[in-house]
């Protein structure tokens, strides 16, 4: 019977270990090298938001900054209603590395270029596995304090989560 228990332990270890290694190695190059820091679900930041320009971010309003590399001719969100819904929560500013514009800009407060990555760096957004421009978002509260910073290569689909975080700040 002791051998049976040893077999259970070995088989369990091999299966779980194999699954874990496979999972870790199949991460996208746009993901965070430290998966614990990607989309943690709690407000983990607290620093004054740097100015994007003389007007943004606006004090007194929650602000969502979306970062992406290229959006030329594409919809920002997979669901066409999301852009309108999220813009009802607060200001939504899209920051695109190559300066391209999405298919629709309705509901967006601004679309900014970030060719040298200085905006992303100023908001302390982490670098993805490939070392390139981050794809993710930052949430700023109405006092202009940054409360949430994360990579999220799939933010265009994870819109419920995005909205929950955005609505979770005051």
């Amino acid at each position: 019977m002791g051998h049976y228990f040893i077999l259970i332990w070995v088989v369990t270890g091999l299966i779980l270990g194999g699954l874990l290694i496979n999972h870790e190695s199949s991460q996208s190059q746009l993901n965070d090298p430290d998966p614990a820091r990607e989309r943690p679900g709690f407000l983990m930041s607290s620093f004054q938001a740097p100015a994007l320009n003389s007007e943004l971010p606006r004090k007194g309003k929650r602000t969502l900054l979306l970062f992406t590399r290229d959006i030329a001719g594409q919809e920002l969100f997979h669901d066409s209603d999301t852009q309108t819904d999220i813009s009802n929560v607060g200001d939504v500013i899209l920051i695109v590395q190559n300066g391209s514009k999405p298919k629709r800009t309705a509901g967006l407060t601004a679309v900014l270029a970030d060719r040298d990555g200085s905006i992303a760096a100023s908001f302390q957004i982490r670098q993805p596995r490939d070392g390139g421009y981050p794809v993710g978002y930052v949430v700023i509260d109405s006092s202009n304090v940054v409360r949430y910073v994360t990579l999220d290569p799939d933010f265009s689909h994870q819109t419920t989560e995005l909205r929950t975080i955005f609505e979770g700040v005051r």
Partner: protein
């Protein structure tokens, strides 16, 4: 041994939970809460076996319930659209558990030690004395 058939529904439920997390691009979190829940359940079961000299009824159910307990803040996030708060640490360190050095590999190691200890105690206290 007698209840080996219960492995199938247990695996099916865990597979379902894994698929839900994967659909949300969050399978990393499934692993974390699975391992932490497993460690908690195995620790309790080991103490029970050691103290009573009897095996636990439905050990896979204990593992599953502990996993689901560790997951509760994610259920609250998903269904109540409420972000994680510090008090959710009650659910087996739901937040801080993600940040241990070594991340899920560390929890995997701790889980395997816990499982090994549980099986060893179970063998010593129940099977070996027969």
């Amino acid at each position: 041994m007698k209840r080996l058939y219960l492995v199938v529904p247990y695996l099916l439920v865990e597979l379902y939970l894994y698929s839900v997390y994967t659909n949300h691009e969050s399978s990393f979190h499934w692993y974390t809460h699975f391992f932490i829940g497993g460690v908690a359940a195995l620790t309790v079961m080991t103490i029970y076996v050691y103290r009573t000299g009897r095996g636990v009824q439905l050990p896979l159910l204990w593992l599953l319930l502990a996993h689901v307990y560790a997951m509760v803040p994610d259920l609250i996030f998903n269904f109540e659209h409420t972000i994680h708060k510090p008090w959710m640490e009650l659910f087996l360190f739901h937040i801080s558990g993600h940040f241990v050095p070594g991340r899920n590999y560390t929890w995997y190691a701790i889980f395997m030690v816990s499982l090994g200890l549980y099986l060893f105690i179970l063998h010593k206290k129940t099977v070996a004395k027969q």
